[in-house]
């Protein structure tokens, strides 16, 4: 049975008819064609699909679109300023070479944004623990950790 879902994504109201079982990530990628949010594992382990729902980082492969009815969703496409200027966390990833193939990157950034709000000056260990739910196969995490520490400082506890 198709159902209608409505929510706000990156500040814009959107709605579509989807199947009840349609995952939020499928809705974002296929219905909205926002393909920056990736699917790496289907089992909520890799974190490539991380988006924000009502300000909190969630894995969009682990809820169905209906569960986001009325929610405020932020994806990687909505993080930079309207003029294209990178958010300080994105800029930190670039500055510190915190990405290689780029596939896990949107999830890493979305997770880091949530983490940094409550950790304006994190230690290396705190950052590593915050990445428990995000896998990267390219960087060995070394530069992701550096990026998040720098990004969090630049954010100063603000979104």
């Amino acid at each position: 049975m198709p159902v209608k879902v409505s929510m706000k994504v990156n500040g814009k109201p959107v709605s579509a008819e989807v199947e009840e079982r349609t995952l939020l990530v499928t809705f974002i990628r296929e219905n909205l064609r926002l393909t920056g949010t990736h699917v790496g594992c289907d089992t909520a382990q890799c974190g490539a699909c991380t988006v924000h729902m009502n300000g909190r980082a969630i894995k969009s492969c682990s809820i169905v679109a209906m569960q986001a009815e009325g929610a405020d969703i932020l994806t990687i496409e909505g993080v930079a300023k309207a003029d294209g200027t990178l958010h300080p966390m994105q800029a930190a990833f670039k500055e510190h070479h915190g990405l290689q193939c780029g596939f896990c990157t949107p999830g890493m950034v979305m997770n880091a944004l949530d983490f940094a709000r409550s950790h304006p000056s994190p230690t290396e260990q705190e950052v590593r623990e915050s990445l428990e739910g995000n896998l990267c196969r390219c960087t060995g995490y070394h530069n992701i950790v550096k990026s998040i520490i720098a990004g969090a400082k630049a954010m100063g506890g603000k979104p």
């Binding site: 089992t43 382990q45 496409e77 994105q90 428990e132 960087t139 060995g140 995490y141």
Partner: protein
């Protein structure tokens, strides 16, 4: 532009699109009116396919077609070829069983494709795939590498399950040297089977055009031209001109995306049958089951030494698992890329290696980051460290006594090293790791109930594969050159087309640095294009750390032609002799005068040839080059690992890791460091956390990220890195390649550290807490 871009820490051009969600990976490609494919996969490791009933699936909602192996056979679609022919010790060719894209008659590993269902939506395709009913007659599964050769046959043409028995070196002389040795160190070990797990799952999306009878395949591939060559010439019997392969942004490869896979063949073939685009994207469980795996060696290795610890001879016997079918480069990994590296950094004069490659009812095994060289390094460096301990010689000192110091150096296993300085990297690694204070740290660890261990690994690798004639004489069925094209536009901007492919390596930045530096242009004026057979003239792709050494050199060769032609044009424009024209930082000058023309002016003249030597010179400024290397490159380095083992639980932590590498000239140190970090982490993963396991029935027990543990951020430390530089002698950039080093050197360093901490001769990889704890218990270290 004054400062050189070579060696500069230039931020990456590709990052903006990845950081803003604008990357275009294969699954992001949506073709008009596309359909979706789902594969029915065998739940059995070995079985006869008695009957496949597709009727229910065909009638399911949204289903457009269902195909089985017989459909491909009837359409004369051939099986997948192997790209490297190994000749065995008796001079006979290896056994090459058919590798059909969809199973025919039998299935030979869990996850093998039995049928494909194509439907209007992905959900419909997956739902209908569950309605395909297959009657299997189960057969006993052959899973164990060691006993495969004495098990029932998997393929008719290989009655003993042996693909080949291959040897390198002079066995009789090696055996003789062992008789006279003062000391022999022997180790039996398994190089554990790994599953690559790039975070982007494989994907393919193919479309057929009736207008010009051509196909376009978007695919997550490390080498689109080779994929096209194999698919057209060997499998589908099509002219290459009718197939375009595009590998857009690719989310990591590590070897697993080098190969032609059955899914790519099926969607391409089906696109024509249906006259619609057919898209398939792997679920992670499909990646675990059907991506080519890596390693899986069982080895006995012996090192003969004289009384002073000089290496006299090395004797290695390895059984290598090929899996159920020969993947694209499977056969050359445990032979050409393994045995040839067994000299390591040492003057060992006599080496013999014998490799038995076996078929089993498991997924195909092929190159995974390092490909043969991690296995070789593991053999050499575990033996060397163990020999040092047995002979009570400092492990660093025993290495020094045996280092190669004269170059070029001809090893007894075919390779000739052009240059290196192993003493320099070792000395730097000892210094950077503060090795002299290790004992203090060890005592401090012990006070916290932790056993601290120190391990070294001095690796060498052969990269920049390869001189095509050498590769050909060793069985390669393809050339291994690289192609590059420089297209200078009328306004003086440049598009560079390279046959190398980037899937994380940052070529759009590194290659642009080379071009911008050579031509004296700004980075913004140089655009790198790769990954599309309709744009790039040819390519052999990216693997074996070959991109900068081979692909980069092809670009330099093309640049030289651009400058040479530019000089001719400039000479005409300035009414000077061509011999008097110099090119420097974007400006053509007449030597000894103040006459000059900017690069852009010359480019403009080439495309608007009003004042131009048309009688002698073609207009335009566009050059290409093919570069075939004269030798491999030989990156090398020294790694020092420190671990802490918890005496109660066996949990092992890498607490410090130092890597000093010699990659020759470095174009972008930031990118090189990133490559090393990633490689080290995969190497630490092999040593500590990653191990692919099949049970006795051939079921994959490690089929998700919950069961197969790729390192998480808390599993690795921050790394201490440095480099030493001996430029490669046979390419103009002096570069060697850096992509695999970390994965090659790290496992031996970690395991040397763990065995040191535990005071045992060997520990199996992966050294999980459980494995280590068992050793602790045996040694009565554990307080239980």
């Amino acid at each position: 532009m004054t400062a050189s871009l070579i060696g500069a820490r230039v931020l990456r051009k590709e990052d903006y699109r990845f950081l803003t969600g604008a990357g275009q990976y294969t699954d992001d490609v949506a073709l008009p009116h596309q359909t979706y494919a789902a594969f029915v996969r065998s739940p059995h490791a070995h079985a006869v396919l008695k009957k496949i009933n597709i009727e229910k699936a065909k009638k399911a909602k949204g289903v457009i077609a269902v195909y089985v192996g017989a459909d491909l056979a009837n359409a004369k679609v051939n099986g997948l070829p192997c790209g490297w022919l190994i000749t065995d010790v008796k001079g006979q060719p290896m056994k090459e069983p058919p590798y059909p894209a969809l199973a025919q008659g039998k299935v030979r590993h869990v996850g093998e494709r039995v049928a494909v269902v194509i439907a209007e939506t992905q959900e419909q395709a997956r739902d209908a795939a569950e309605l395909v009913k297959v009657d299997y007659q189960e057969l006993p599964a052959v899973v164990d590498t060691k006993s495969a050769a004495s098990s029932k046959p998997i393929h008719d043409i290989a009655p003993d399950n042996i693909c080949y028995v291959w040897g390198l070196g002079e066995k009789a002389k090696v055996d003789e040297a062992f008789k006279g040795a003062a000391h022999v160190t022997k180790l039996d070990f398994v190089n554990n089977r790994l599953i690559p797990n790039a975070i982007e799952p494989r994907a393919a999306n193919a479309v057929y055009s009736r207008a010009d009878e051509s196909y376009t395949l978007y695919v997550a591939s490390q080498n689109p031209h080779v994929e096209r060559l194999l698919m057209t010439a060997f499998v589908l019997g099509l002219p290459e001109s009718k197939v375009r392969v595009v590998a857009p942004d690719v989310g990591g490869g590590f070897g697993s995306k080098i190969y032609l896979y059955p899914e790519d063949v099926v969607v391409t073939w089906a696109a024509k049958q249906l006259n619609r685009a057919v898209k398939w994207t792997a679920e992670r469980s499909e990646s675990f089951l059907s991506d080519a795996h890596g390693r899986d060696h069982v080895t006995t290795a012996e090192l003969a030494l004289d009384k002073d610890g000089k290496f006299l001879a090395l004797r290695v016997r390895t059984t290598a698992n090929m899996g159920a079918y020969l993947s694209t480069f499977a056969s050359c990994i445990p032979t050409i890329l393994y045995a040839t590296l067994l000299a390591g950094q040492y003057t060992t004069p006599l080496i013999y290696c014998e490799v038995t490659a076996v078929f089993t009812n498991t997924a195909p095994v092929d190159a995974y980051r390092g490909a043969g060289r991690p296995e070789a390094t593991y053999v050499v460096e575990r033996l060397v460290e163990t020999a040092a301990r047995e002979m009570k010689i400092d492990p660093a000192e025993i290495r020094r006594r045996n280092f190669i110091r004269q170059f070029p150096y001809q090893t007894p296993v075919a390779l000739q090293y052009d240059t290196g300085n192993y003493e320099a990297t070792l000395a730097a690694a000892l210094e950077l790791s503060d090795q002299k204070n290790f004992d203090k740290r060890k005592a401090e660890s012990l006070r916290r109930g932790k056993l601290r261990g120190l391990g070294y690994a001095c690796y060498i690798e052969a990269c920049g594969i390869a001189p095509s004639n050498v590769a050909g004489s060793l069985g390669a069925r393809a050339g291994l050159f690289e192609a590059g094209e420089i297209r200078v536009h009328p306004t003086g901007t440049v598009t560079v087309f390279t046959g190398s492919h980037a899937h994380g390596q940052g070529h759009e930045t590194t290659f642009a640095q080379v071009v911008a530096d050579r031509l004296g242009l700004a980075m913004e004026q140089v655009e790198i294009v790769h990954g599309d057979t309709s744009k790039v003239l040819f390519g052999m792709g990216t693997y074996g750390s070959r991109s900068i050494a081979v692909g980069g050199t092809a670009i330099v060769k093309a640049l030289d032609k651009i400058v040479a032609k530019g000089k001719k044009i400039a000479a005409h424009l300035m009414e000077a002799a061509e011999a008097d024209i110099e090119y420097d930082k974007g400006v053509f000058k007449v030597a000894g005068t103040d006459k000059k023309k900017a690069f852009g002016e010359v480019a403009f003249a080439a495309y608007v040839p009003h004042n131009y030597p048309l009688d002698k010179l073609e207009p335009g400024l566009n050059e290409n080059a093919f570069y075939d290397p004269t030798n491999f490159t030989f990156p090398a380095g020294s790694y020092v690992c420190e671990v802490e083992v918890d005496r109660d639980t066996g949990a092992t932590e890498v607490v410090a890791f130092t890597a000093v590498d010699d990659f020759g000239r470095i174009i972008n140190p930031m990118i090189v460091e990133g490559q090393v970090h990633g490689g080290l982490t995969q190497g630490i993963g092999q040593a500590l956390t990653e191990g692919c396991k099949y049970d006795a029935e051939g079921q994959l027990s490690t089929g998700s990220f919950g069961d197969y543990c790729i390192p998480r951020a808390t599993d690795v430390p921050s790394f201490k890195l440095d480099t030493r530089e001996t430029p490669c002698t046979h390419n103009p950039l002096g570069v060697k390649g850096c992509g695999e080093a970390g994965a090659i050197g790290a496992p031996a360093a970690v395991m040397n550290a763990i065995t040191d901490a535990l005071g045992v001769k060997d520990v199996a990889m992966p050294a999980t807490a459980n494995t280590v704890w068992k050793h602790l218990r045996e040694k009565s270290h554990a307080r239980v």
